[in-house]
Amino acid sequence: MKLIYEKSSPGRPGVRMSSIKISPTEEIPAKYLRSKPAQLPEVSEAEVVRHFTALSRLNFSVDTHFYPLGSCTMKYNPKACEAAANLPELTEVHPLWPQLRGGGLLTQGSLAILYHTERILSEITGLAEFTLQPMAGAHGELTGVMIMAAYHRDRGNTQKDHIIIPDSAHGTNPASAQLAGYKVVTVPSDDKGMMDFDLFKAALNERTAGVMLTCPNTLGVFEMRIKEICDAVHGVDGLMYYDGANFNAIMGRYKPGDMGFDICHLNLHKSFATPHGGGGPGAGPVGVVEKLQPYLPISRVEKTRDGTYALNYDEPKSIGYIAPFYGNFGVVARAYAYILSLGRDGMLGTSNRAVLNANYLQEKLRPLFGEEFKGRCMHEFVFSGEFLRKHGIHTLDLAKGMIDRGIHPPTVYFPLNVPEAIMVEPTESEDRDTLDRFVEVMAELVELAKTDPEKLHEAPVTTPVGRLDEVKAARDMRLSYS
């Protein structure tokens, strides 16, 4: 498809933007001004609408396809949550208004949403306090490990120099730990997919600042010895960090705080049904136990004695400003609408069905793929495509074959500790017919891999482009149109 710049022609008017003129009082000297206007497209409004509508049709999405992308929780994004968050009374509020004296009273609605969302997230995670400021999961992780660092500094724990992370962890965990000034110690997984307990104990010492765990982990396996792990870490005054990317499995049933975690982030763009936007915006709120509350980022939303909401900037031990304001408010508002819709029973009802769908699919697929990890899974599971290597077929080939059959592929080649990994997360949004169809498609693809692997190497053939040359992209570095 042509680029919008290739459709441009000089003088073609877009949306009429100029309003009633007000004459300026003076001109600004030329040295401060650009000599030529930016070469933006010159395309009619109708053509712009067609262009982006046509582009949208080139995408797979939850609204158009089954999208069982493991670790990403691609559940349905309710339209009512969109409608609620798009109310102009919410979208048109300037973030600095509450900082104008008297202005806080004009933003009580937005502040109330923030306050109540924090309270509810505290209840469902079993953690004392929340901040909604982090703007994605990774940003929540960084906030969390910075809170860890502030705690240790405050306690005089100067020897703390590393964070323990299992090898099944998402890449953002080690990257975030490093950005907060910590070294990373990686612990391998055992044959059940859990962090190897003996190797973990061997790695743990007085210099351990904390441990970052995903539970259930990225293999879809619950860390059974979580209590022992937490106790051991607390024994050296370390802190337990919960990566909540997989919270959809346990929502309403288990609370990270009750398990012994001290800090946790949730991905609102996963468990709480806010759309992923083709790569964001998300939100990664962070909850902490009571003793870590003083280190949370500034500002804090509070309810005053007269029942109004206010922002508190006076937190001397806080890590400071991680965001310009109060986080991705628009995303939080969607999650709030979702939480109100689910309510008390709906949380458990949701995680139950997410786990049921995953187990059903795993059992149905076992005859095809054998078992990577035995027993029940949580909301997702991983299997390996290694057995197809002898036919010259890789996980990537299976993935491309799925695209031709109208299914967005699961996450592939992650987690890194499983060769040819395929990670499937159906979510509670899918009905049984969709799950059964997925099984049929997988069976067809495995059969094809064995009988006519060349066909799979050619996939996808139904998309606007076939497999793209990534080496060429990196070598040529054509990163903009010229």
Partner: protein
């Protein structure tokens, strides 16, 4: 148990699935997990129907007053958003997709991102741009890390004309890293202090950070100062307001090495602080040190053009703790809004919006300066925002005007000691002559009172 909304399996499906799995109920799925971990039922309200939920949120939302006439900017601006931006960005094919990991099934997101990167390059006068970062503040921090990695040095000099909100964020993010963070006080004319910078530039400095227009709205041409930064082998980082780039000299032309900014003004609502759009652009030379996703052009086996995420060896999913950043999800939908906005208004329209903003500010400046006791804080060179000094505490004045339905600006005393009487006012194309006249009249009467 009540029906759970948004779940697709029927009771009958469930019963059959239970049977297939050889279990009697949901609890058995969790049987292997230690029983003492299970929590009690949540203490949150019961679920609402869609209608009840909408009524509830409408009621809360009404507690906001959105009919304030807004002159408050300070980096976040109340611009008009053409209807087609919302219509197109609300297409489920865009907003319910994930990050484009499977390029053949994501050409829509990828091509739009490539077009966005191109637009950012053209606005800033730079060679390459990434596909987005969270916001202008985190983008600035990422730029600092990028510059320090590139130069192998650990000191950064930050002009105090850089947004105080972003400076607080920089301090926060650098507190655990071996970064020597030094701020340089603003020059008396409201722009970067040349002499102070030149004196502070030594061979430990990896980056110098400027903002143009700066927090006070003042315009500068930083070319000569950037040359000095380069003479000491450091990199120049510039944070910019993209709407100003309709008319203001580009950071590229001034020699900037890394450009960042807040893209909210390009078709994103104010939304009480987010989601916003951090953008970053740089030169080809530094692209491998750049954080975040980057979309590149390539071809498929038949030679057809297509787009992919590229140079991924910089990123956390491959490099883990050695990555250029920890960022994973960015704000792709916000970048999409920006490219839709820029395409809709186009070359001419963008220029017109910029001129309208500038003309309104110019008109207001002239009028405000005539109020007895009011003085411009700095000189006359601004785009759409400027600071004035009042004969009274600016926070008190703003408070009085808020009561009359006007957000008269941002009192900067909160961030700058000794500037308690200084008020920062922003003007967008949405403000009318009448509104400006009312602002002037009411301000005058509040000052008299």
């Amino acid at each position: 148990m009540k029906k759970t909304p948004f779940c697709a399996t029927s009771e009958r499906d469930q019963a059959e699935m239970f049977e297939f799995l050889g279990i009697g109920d949901f609890d058995e799925l969790f049987a292997e997990i230690p029983a003492d971990l299970q929590s009690d039922l949540l203490d949150i309200p019961e679920g609402l129907s869609e209608m009840e939920m909408m009524q509830h949120i409408r009621k809360i939302a009404r507690r906001n007053s959105t009919n304030l006439v807004n002159f408050c900017g300070a980096g976040f601006y109340d611009h008009y958003i053409p209807a087609a931006v919302n219509a197109l960005a609300s297409r489920g094919e865009f907003y319910t997709a994930y990050t484009p990991y499977q390029p053949e099934a994501s050409q829509g997101t990828l091509q739009a991102a490539f077009e966005y990167q191109t637009a950012i390059c053209r606005l800033t006068g730079m060679e390459v741009a990434n596909a987005s970062l969270f916001d202008g503040g985190t983008a600035l921090f990422e730029a600092v890390m990028m510059a320090l990695r590139s130069t192998g040095r650990n000191k950064v000099l930050v002009d105090q004309g850089v947004s105080p909100i972003y400076r607080k964020m920089l301090r926060c993010y650098t507190q655990n890293l071996s970064v020597d963070y030094q701020e340089i006080p603003l020059g008396s004319n409201g722009v970067a202090d040349r002499k102070a910078f030149e004196a502070a530039l030594d061979d430990t400095v990896g980056a110098a950070i400027f903002q143009n227009p700066n927090f006070f709205g003042c315009l500068d041409n930083l070319k000569e100062l950037v040359d000095k930064v380069h003479e000491s082998n450091a990199l120049a980082i510039m944070s910019v307001y993209p709407m100003a780039l309709s008319v203001v000299e580009t950071p590229g032309a001034m020699g900037a090495d890394i450009v960042t900014g807040e893209g909210q003004s390009l078709g994103l609502p104010l939304n009480f602080g987010g989601p916003y759009l951090g953008f970053m652009a740089t030169t080809k030379k530094h692209v491998r040190k750049m954080p975040g996703r980057i979309v590149g052009e390539t071809v498929d086996h038949k030679g057809r053009r297509g787009f992919v995420l590229t140079l991924q060896a910089r990123e956390q999913h491959i490099r883990r703790e050695k990555a250029t950043s920890n960022i994973c999800s960015n704000v792709q939908l916000c970048a999409l809004r920006a490219i839709i906005y820029l395409s809709l208004v186009g070359r001419e329209g963008f220029l017109e919006v910029g001129r309208d903003c500038m003309d309104r500010a110019s008109y207001a400046w002239h009028k405000l300066a005539k109020i007895p006791g009011v003085e411009p804080a700095f000189n006359r060179r601004f785009f759409n925002e400027f600071a004035i000094r009042l004969p009274k505490d600016a926070s008190d004045v703003v408070s009085a005007l808020v009561d009359q339905g006007i957000a008269a600006g941002f009192p900067v005393g909160r961030y700058y000691k000794g500037m308690e009487n200084v008020l920062l006012l922003a003007f967008t194309e949405k403000r009318t002559k009448e509104e400006i006249d009312i602002l002037v009249a009411k301000l005058e009467s509040v000052l008299k009172a």
